[in-house]
């Protein structure tokens, strides 16, 4: 008997829906999530102190701008729209055990095609249909872009982490080239696509500046969550993710499912790009790359691939990124300190997970 038949621990940690969710488990989970976040805030505060910035002032500005000021919270909620789509795409991929790290390339290609098509479509068809078609095109383009890693993984077993990461560099560059050479707006000197008029963009919610893309994003992530947890298709994907050999043994068409996973994941990333352009930006400037795709990955991990938890963490990420931009400007901290903060949270969380696992192992023994 070899030792590798012992169940893997990481799989246990990833699939949060399995297992009995008693109240103690939930409490434990909350503690294991919020504790490390607080610890990370303290550590990040230490770093801020070291560079001569008052951490309390920094966090204060973050909260004030990202959460408590009326304009700030509206910006935060607007920022959530593309992030939710990206998170939905990552949940599908990660639950199926496929690490689609090419979100940024797929996002930008979706954004550029949406930006290029929407201004044309609104002139020849009703606005709702035009926006719908732009969404569709963005989705299809991103799906097509994912075919290379999908086919390589499905039929050749090539590691998708490498291929999607490489494809994201190509995708980012291709998006740039498209903006500069193909879809460039002849009306301006700045290299950017034609601008979608504000009145043709996705409507805003009520009397605020919040984009209705937020609702689309919420719908997307909730649908993805329900599909993954309640349907046969979702279960098949989760089987592939949790034990690929069991999937083969059970007669699932693993290559087909692999391609489907990549298509859905990339399609959602493409929609994220479209929702950001059609809802908020209106055009794509050359060299624009907000790198949302990579920023969302930690949020999805913190949520343990759970859609509802992901909404919460995406909100947190939005607060941090909107508030962090403002706080950084006012205190002279680099803008990327938000990312530093998020990565500290991740590292502390991983450490806590490790310690917790060791503790429960030693208690069992």
């Amino acid at each position: 008997m070899s030792i590798d038949t012992a169940p893997t621990v990481s799989a246990t940690a990833l699939d949060a829906t399995s297992g009995a969710a008693t109240r103690r488990d939930i409490l434990h989970r909350l503690l294991m999530t919020l504790g490390p976040i607080l610890a990370a805030l303290v550590i990040a505060g230490g770093i801020l102190l070291a560079v001569g910035v008052d951490p309390l002032a920094y966090y204060g500005y973050v909260l004030e701008k990202g959460l408590f000021s009326p304009l700030g919270i509206q910006q935060t909620l607007t920022r959530m729209a593309p992030l939710l789509f990206l998170a939905a795409g990552l949940i599908v991929a990660f639950r199926a055990g496929m690490w689609n790290l090419g979100g940024d390339g797929q996002f930008l290609l979706g954004a550029v095609t949406a930006a290029a098509s929407a201004p044309v479509f609104v002139q020849i068809m009703p606005a709702w249909l035009a926006l719908f078609c732009s969404f569709l095109i963005a989705m299809v383009v991103a799906m097509t872009w994912s075919l290379v890693p999908a086919l390589l993984r499905a039929y050749q077993g090539v590691n998708e982490i490498i291929t999607t990461l490489m494809m994201t560099f190509l995708g980012t560059s291709l998006a740039n080239v498209l903006v500069k050479l193909v879809f460039r707006d002849p009306g301006t000197t700045v290299p950017q696509t034609r601008t979608l008029p504000v009145e043709d963009r996705l409507p805003r919610l009520f009397e605020t500046t919040i984009t209705s893309g937020l609702l689309l994003g919420l719908a997307a992530i909730i649908i993805v969550h329900l599909v993954m947890t309640r349907t046969a298709f979702g279960l098949k994907l989760r089987i592939v993710g949790a034990n690929p050999r069991a999937a083969v043994h059970s007669g699932l068409g693993v290559p087909g499912l692999t391609i489907a996973v990549f298509a859905i994941s990339a399609g959602l990333a493409g929609l994220a790009g479209a929702v950001d352009i059609i809802g908020v930006q209106g055009n794509v400037r050359a060299d624009w790359n907000p790198a949302y795709g990579l920023a969302v990955i930690p949020a999805v991990f913190l949520a343990r691939m759970n859609g509802f938890a992901a909404i919460g963490f995406v909100f947190l990420l939005s607060v941090l990124s909107i508030g962090g931009e403002s706080a950084a400007r006012r205190l002279g901290v680099p803008n990327h300190f938000t990312l530093v903060l998020v990565s500290i949270v991740l590292i502390v969380l991983a450490l806590a997970e490790y310690v917790d696992h060791r503790y429960s192992q030693s208690r069992k023994a």
Binding site: M1, T12, S18, A20, T231, A232, A246, V248
Partner: protein, 522 residues
């Protein structure tokens, strides 16, 4: 079989195991094993895959810790805490798979693992190697890249590495599996010279001929237990053929007072009935790490149990997977109830009534992190009534799962418990329930009692008999000859991916099958 006590014999033992037990989830890999390893002896550990050899090696080389019992080094109880600690105690291991860095030279490989703050002492090494190799009569090219060496030469380097580190005990794990016949002979000669210098060698193999040719003392492991030992005095007194037959007796023979031995109930198989499963000239191409299959042909009639006997790793798993549709075949036909199924997918074959109960319960049979309830329906995802238009019907699933849990006596805290938390026997019951529930016509059981305790073994066997009694055709693959003799109507013997004979399970079946298994004509 534990004929030595620590007080009298340990004075000579470099390492001794006393009542060592190691458990893994659902399985007892080593069951109170006693072993004495002495200088100047090649101690052969013989057993099939899964007999517990690797686990034993793991504990000796510090990779794993025993759950019970103790390991004595030089007569003193010593927990071997890590591979580094094992090396420091003088226990060197040459693993089955080469553990050299192919892009580095031999000298660089030998110097790996030295203190990082020192410059590698190349001259010292060269002198030391020259000293060792001259006494052993081998030549090692220190400046050749490892990737340029043959597998036999690489193995010599690994042995040399253990010697350079002053090993007193050398463990060779399945070392002949990748060597040519000439390489094997050379290794045998090398082992002989090493023990003459006072080293102790533990030589793991599942090949009887090598055990008889190279050993001084043989311990036979079977399903985690040590079932016998041939000490050196007896070893020298016997000829090679006698040793082999004695080993065969130990490995496959009937043990006294075996509670598992039950009279085989006489079943009536309708000889005139059309076969439910008909396999003709099935062939599978070999892969890097698995043997192929060639010209496999057999029939199974309704109500019949056909056994597949053979030493593990001779193509049993490939046969099961090829029949189930998990492995591509190169030629041949498989007919289920008269219809050809060899081109169908895994799912379609299952739909037609072919069921495959895998031996790898956690690796592919179940998804360990999923609840027990879902694991019952792993092969029916999307099927009514458990899914309606693709949406999970939790109530239906739980209702049927509760029914199966009762019917198959699965001991589980709840339906929601992740299946990996159950014991091996209960996981097996989940698989049995899944495969034997409605619609089955032909069932392939691959090592259905492997790693189970007695109660679960007997329960599983009864399930299999009941299955055949219901008129299903059963293919029972097992490495346990007792099991096959107690259950099958006919027994086919597989060796090197081919069926070497099919024997009716009559009085002389044991001898016939045993002879076929070691390559003699029945």
């Amino acid at each position: 079989m534990s004929g030595f006590s620590s007080s009298s014999a340990s004075g000579r033992d470099i390492v001794a195991l006393e009542g060592v037990t190691k458990r893994f989830p659902g399985i007892v890999a080593n069951d109170s094993i006693d072993l004495a390893i002495r200088p100047g002896e090649v101690h052969v550990l013989l057993g099939e895959n899964g007999a517990g050899k690797s686990t034993l090696i793991g504990m000796l080389s510090g990779l794993q810790q025993p759950d019970e019992g103790r390991i004595l080094v030089d007569g003193k109880p010593t927990p071997i805490t890590s591979p580094r600690h094992a090396l420091a105690l003088g226990i060197g291991t040459v693993f089955q798979h080469m553990m050299l860095v192919p892009t580095l030279t031999v000298a660089e490989n030998l110097l790996l693992g030295g203190p990082w703050w020192q410059r590698p002492r190349t001259e010292e090494l060269a002198a030391r190697v020259a000293e060792i190799t001259s006494t052993l009569g081998i030549t090692i090219k220190l400046h050749a890249k490892v990737s340029e060496l043959s597998l036999g030469e690489q193995q010599q380097v690994e042995i040399l590495r253990a010697m350079v580190r002053n090993s007193r005990l050398l463990i060779l794990d399945e070392s002949t599996s990748m060597l040519t016949p000439k390489g094997i002979d050379e290794l045998g000669a090398l082992m002989r010279r090493l023990v003459e210098q006072g080293l102790a060698i533990v030589f793991i193999t599942h090949k009887l001929k090598e055990a008889a040719a190279f050993g001084d003392r043989i311990s036979v492991l079977k399903l985690g237990r040590k079932v016998g030992e041939i000490p050196p005095e007896r070893f020298r007194a016997l000829g090679e053929q006698e040793i082999i037959s004695e080993i065969v007796e130990l490995m496959f023979g009937q043990q006294k007072d075996d509670p598992e031995a039950v009279e085989r109930p006489v079943r009536t198989v309708h000889a005139e009935a059309a076969p439910l499963l008909r396999v003709a000239d099935l062939a599978v191409a070999p892969t890097d790490n698995a043997p192929g299959l060639s010209s496999i042909s057999f029939d199974i009639r309704p109500g019949e149990i056909l056994g597949i006997a053979g030493i593990d790793g001779n193509g049993q798993k490939q046969l099961a997977e090829a029949l189930a549709g998990q492995r591509a075949t190169t030629s041949g036909s498989v007919r289920l109830d008269g219809a050809a199924i060899e081109t169908l997918s895994v799912g379609e074959r299952r739909q037609r009534g072919l069921r495959y109960l895998t031996d790898d319960r956690l690796g592919e049979g179940t998804v360990g992190t999923f609840p027990v309830s879902i694991n019952f329906f792993l092969k029916q995802v999307g099927a009514a009534p458990f899914w309606s238009k693709g949406v999970e019907q939790r109530a239906e699933i739980d209702k049927r799962a509760a029914q199966l849990v009762r019917e198959y006596d699965v001991r589980t805290p709840s339906l929601k418990t992740p299946v990996a938390r159950l014991s091996g026997g209960n996981i097996q019951k989940v698989l049995l329930a899944r495969e034997l529930a409605e619609g089955a016509k032909v069932v392939i059981f691959n090592k259905p009692t492997y790693g189970l305790d007695l109660a679960n073994t007997l329960a599983s066997r009864q399930r299999i008999r009941d299955t055949a009694a219901r008129g299903l055709a059963v293919l029972l693959i097992s490495t346990d000859l007792e099991e096959l003799l107690s259950m099958c109507d006919r027994i086919a013997v597989i060796a090197n991916g081919a069926l070497v004979g099919i024997v009716d399970n009559a009085d002389d079946a044991r001898t016939k099958v045993g002879r076929l298994m070691i390559g003699l004509a029945a």
